[in-house]
Symmetry: C2
Subunit: 314 residues, 2 copies
DNA sequence: TTGAAAGCGCTAACAC
DNA sequence: GTGTTAGCGCTTTCAA
């Protein structure tokens, strides 16, 4: 038994003849080693848990894809689950992953995440992505929402005669808040006030972007530029613009945030701030691996720059 | 030890006082049962492996979401990995999942899937989704590609003066082949021949749809209707249509397949055949659970009807 | 109603 | 180079 184990793990000496015999036997018997048994004695499972609030969100999944690729490179298997944004479900899934003894956990921040982490014992390393959580001591990674928003608004200011409007996100979500700050400060830098009239709140959906845009139209007469908190909302806004018989960018300049696929597919294609999804995912796995190895890591949030993607809408 | 085990699993008798003491101790110690150890003796892991060729494909992920929800309801945890469409990677991931002793496996069919399954020993149940595989003896689930295509083409025939063109998928992919057959037969039903001139091959991408449409334009003078093998290709086609200064549906009627989110977001919104993603996912888990319980299941492919979604493009 | 003991498949330490 | 043994955390007899 021990010799087989040594052969399998290529640890210690095994005579080449014996090795062959072992390999042949494994083949004949269709033997597949049991990783759980391995994990029982070794302590590590080579699995990483990933918890997403919405598996049908291209932004999230492209980050997960990057995680997937990095994990694959390092021979890790991913447990991915969708909490559907429900805090209770999030808690149950985290628990299940702990019972499965994942080596590390990657969570996308939701309003409930802080509490979920609070209430669970710190079994192994945890990393939070995208929407950061204030009362969390571990590593966190996100795009620089603030700078990205500023860049977007500066671009609009270059093209527009009037101060751009903002379709904002829910006030209690950290990333939305950051983008709002960026919007306000970019205006302030030009000695323009951020007036309430030009800000309309929406959640991150297409529908909400559509109605927000309509509300802005009915309220603001001199409207020739809009920054939307994310691409989905921007797409909704675009719909509203075209329904009024107006055009993009001729009548209204439009900039989104995220760079989801649809941004490239629509006509006119959407100018946006691209999140560095690939490096968010890769960095997450890198840090996790360091933590798994027992090294200590920086716990101040890592903030990666977004990239302005020029397309047709602005 | 045995008593604790009984308490945890609520199997056998435990005095209520003892139960309380156990629960209190678990709390104090932050005890989290080890599912792997459990699985070692029990044989089942309550995990399901899911292998996707592209995690950033809304069609796939909405099916996975349905799988996720069904799995959650029945207390299963999902191992989801993205093979990036590479056969070799697919094989390695399946292997890893077998080593982890998943109770069942759900695969999205790719050109390489048949061989991967062939070469791996049948450890536990396997289900194949979406693109069926001919030499596979287990259960398979997909939309009725053929009927869906027929429905789409019939709709186009109603609105168009000329026989609609078809932006086809790769010939070696089963689902694409089915949709092509549907296209041809729908024409034939109206005593119209399916002429090669009106068929342009593309893969399932936006880019390919775009160039395919341009080729059709340059080849077919009387073009007022197009059926695209999937929504992404349809969106690319739409771009080409608008670039020519034409409109949808005024000049060219357009129908897609799948009903990805973007279909609703674009202007004009895309008429399409919706895949029953929710029921594909739910059914997959239902069948898997049956198989895990040891029941025998139907192995003739389950073919679910698609749904025509009327929007603006046709 | 509880405890003792065996064993799930593996690795690591040690002896041979 | 290879075999023996103990033990990872649990469930399941079987006895008490």
């Amino acid at each position: 038994m021990a010799t087989v184990s040594r052969a399998l793990n290529r640890t210690g000496y095994v005579k080449s003849g014996t090795l062959e015999k072992i390999e042949q036997a494994m083949d004949e018997l269709g033997y597949i080693p049991n990783r759980q048994a391995r994990a029982m004695v070794g302590g590590i499972t080579r699995t990483i848990g990933v918890l997403v609030p919405d598996m049908d969100n291209s932004l999230f999944m492209r980050i997960v894809q990057a995680i997937n690729d990095a994990a694959y490179r390092h021979d890790y298997t991913l447990l991915v689950m969708d909490s559907r944004g429900e805090a209770q479900r999030e808690a149950k899934i985290v628990r299940a992953m702990q019972e499965l003894r994942v080596d590390g956990l990657i969570l996308f921040g939701t309003p409930g995440t802080a509490q979920v982490i609070e209430s669970m014992k710190p079994q192994g390393p945890v990393i939070i992505l995208d929407r950061l959580v204030t009362h969390f001591a571990g590593p966190q990674i996100s795009v620089n929402h603030y700078d990205g928003a500023k860049t977007a608004v500066r671009l609009l200011l270059k093209h527009c005669r009037y101060p751009p409007a903002f379709i904002a996100g829910p006030a209690h979500i950290w990333s939305a808040q950051q983008r709002l700050n960026g919007y306000c400060d970019a205006l302030r830098d030009q000695d323009l006030p951020a007036v309430l009239e030009r800000i309309e709140y929406a959640d991150f959906t297409y529908q909400a972007g559509y109605s927000a845009m309509n509300k802005l139209f009915s309220r603001v007469p001199d409207l020739d530029g809009v920054f939307a908190v994310n691409d989905l909302a921007a797409l909704g806004a675009m719909k509203a613009i075209y329904e009024r018989g107006l055009g993009c960018p001729d009548d209204v300049h439009l900039v989104g945030f995220d760079d989801i696929h649809a941004a490239r597919y629509v006509t006119p294609s959407l100018t946006t701030i691209r999140q560095p999804m690939e490096s968010i995912g890769r960095t997450a796995v890198d840090i996790l691996r360091k933590q798994i190895r027992g090294e200590t890591v920086e716990t101040t949030p890592i903030v990666l720059p977004g990239e302005l993607i020029f397309r047709e809408s602005c």
